[in-house]
Amino acid sequence: MEPGFPAGLSAANGYGVVDTRRPVLVLNDVTKTYPNGRDALKDVDLVVPEGDFVFLVGASGAGKSTLMKLLIRDELATQGTVTLDGDDMARLPRRKVPIVRRKIGIVFQDFKLLPTKTVRENIAFALEVTGTPRRKIGPAVARALALVGLTAQADQYPKQLSGGEQQRTAIARALVHDPKIVIADEPTGNLDPLISWEILQLLLRINELGVTVLMATHDADIVTALRKRVVALEEGRVIRDEIGGGYHRAG
């Protein structure tokens, strides 16, 4: 196994430099057992410092989706702790869950846009339903639209857009409330390679603006080309966590 320490967990990261960045996300010895007895995750340790860009790779059923669900507190860990921006998910009272979710921006493979709303309304929706004052919504939506380059398409409906544009709308929605971390679950899974690169460029830019990005993906080309931090899961265990890694384990 690669010697790469989980970045930020110990004194040294892959570069042998002390990592003083604040961790946004900490999984400590996490096991998730579903009611049918299957261990979806087993003894997972993961620390993601602020501003990191992490690829989460692994075959279907390796535990990527379960990990994502733990992060947004759709599921609770059976053992161990999941901490997001200082909040222990297991100790979080129910009414605080929405507040923690506002620190996360989520992007899905199937976009999850509302077909009866325009691009602008889809993005504004995330602010409206979290009780943001009306006068703040307009400017925030305009900024998000500009960031993803959809200002011209703002009044179109999702079905009038291409797949890439729909995903950019979803990214704008994930960003509009200034999240600490963006979690992207196979965001390029439904897109062709060229468009996938566009989406990746967008996520990288967002990361440069200081937002932590955690992206689950099957796309080996992208992972190998970008040389970011790669966390590989297999049968619920972290089998590799290296900075600057490829999709596959290095030779």
């Binding site: 929405p98 923690v100 979710r101 999850k112 709303k117 409206e128 979290t130 009780g131 004052p133």
Partner: protein, 294 residues
């Protein structure tokens, strides 16, 4: 708080029209169910009034001895009138009894046999109307032991049977209305549940972007209330349209029965608006709750 209310109501309004097909289907179901409920309520009201009308006919008739003094009669009438079970007391004198008998014979086209008699054979009597037919025995027992009374006409068996029949019919009516109510409840709630199910993705997105439960729930609750109010309005409109020709048809009905159109229409309006809004709100509440408990 006010802006939250404004937000919820405007979102409810938007949600209703942007999913017009589903909303109108829910409203149509709501309308039909409210009509069913209102129809049964009206029938039930007429039915209960009919029962009361029949029960009012139960009274105690007591024949008096001849030669009871005026003072004894007034005393007896006063004591009867003071009983809580008694609604009214009417004294039928011997002459009055004879007059009524003759009238009856004439009306039936038969000979007046009493003209062959030397004196009036009919007794004077007291006709006592009761507040409740169940009190028959108490009043009859009171009269039987009075020295002025010759005989109490015994209709106890008939009264008992009438009471058991009317009580059965009353219970049956209430049970039937309950069953109809339950059917309406389930159909309406299921319709709203389907409408909410069609918007599961919207709820999912709200949850994921960090909307609190209240922000997810209340727009749907207001939308449910809107469906209920709209259904109630249509139902009342249809009933009002039908009321004019119906009341022509039922004028006789309302003249006989102790019931007024005014009280029925007030009750039905309250019923339709109340249950429409209530069902809409409860239906939306329980349907959205499914998505919030997780």
């Amino acid at each position: 708080m006010l802006s939250f209310l404004f937000f919820s109501i405007s979102r409810a309004w938007q949600g209703f029209w942007r999913n017009a097909a589903m909303s109108l289907a829910a409203t149509a179901t709501m309308t039909l169910m409210l009509m069913l409920l209102a129809g049964f309520w009206i029938i039930q009201a007429g039915f209960l009034a009919s029962l009361t009308y029949v029960e009012d006919k139960v009274g105690v008739v007591a024949d008096m001895n001849d030669g009871v003094s005026e003072a004894a009669l007034q005393d007896l009438e006063a004591r009867l009138g003071a009983m809580p079970e008694v609604r009214s007391v009417e004294y039928i004198s011997k002459d009055e009894a004879l007059r009524r008998y003759r009238e009856e014979r004439t009306a039936q086209g038969q000979d007046d046999l009493t003209s062959y008699l030397a004196e009036n054979p009919l007794p004077a009597s007291l006709e006592v109307k009761l507040r409740r037919p169940e009190d028959y025995q108490a009043v009859a027992g009171f009269l039987e032991v009075d020295p002025a009374i010759a005989k109490v006409q015994n209709i106890k068996d008939t009264t008992d049977r009438l009471i058991s029949i009317t009580n059965f019919l009353r219970t049956f009516g209430v049970v039937l209305l309950g069953v109809i109510g339950a059917i309406v409840l389930f159909i309406v709630i299921n319709t709203i549940r389907l409408a909410v199910l069609g918007r599961a993705e919207e709820i999912e997105v709200m949850r994921l972007v960090g909307a609190s439960d209240a922000f997810i729930r209340w727009p749907f609750v207001f939308e449910g209330a809107l469906v209920g109010l709209l259904g109630a309005a249509i139902t009342l409109g249809v009933l009002m349209g039908a009321a004019e020709p119906l009341s022509h048809f039922m004028v006789g009905f309302f003249q006989i029965l102790p019931i007024s159109i005014g009280s029925i229409s007030r009750d039905v309006t309250l019923l339709v608006v109340g249950s429409g809004t209530g069902l809409g709100v409860v239906g939306a509440w329980v349907s959205v709750r499914t998505y919030l408990i997780r």
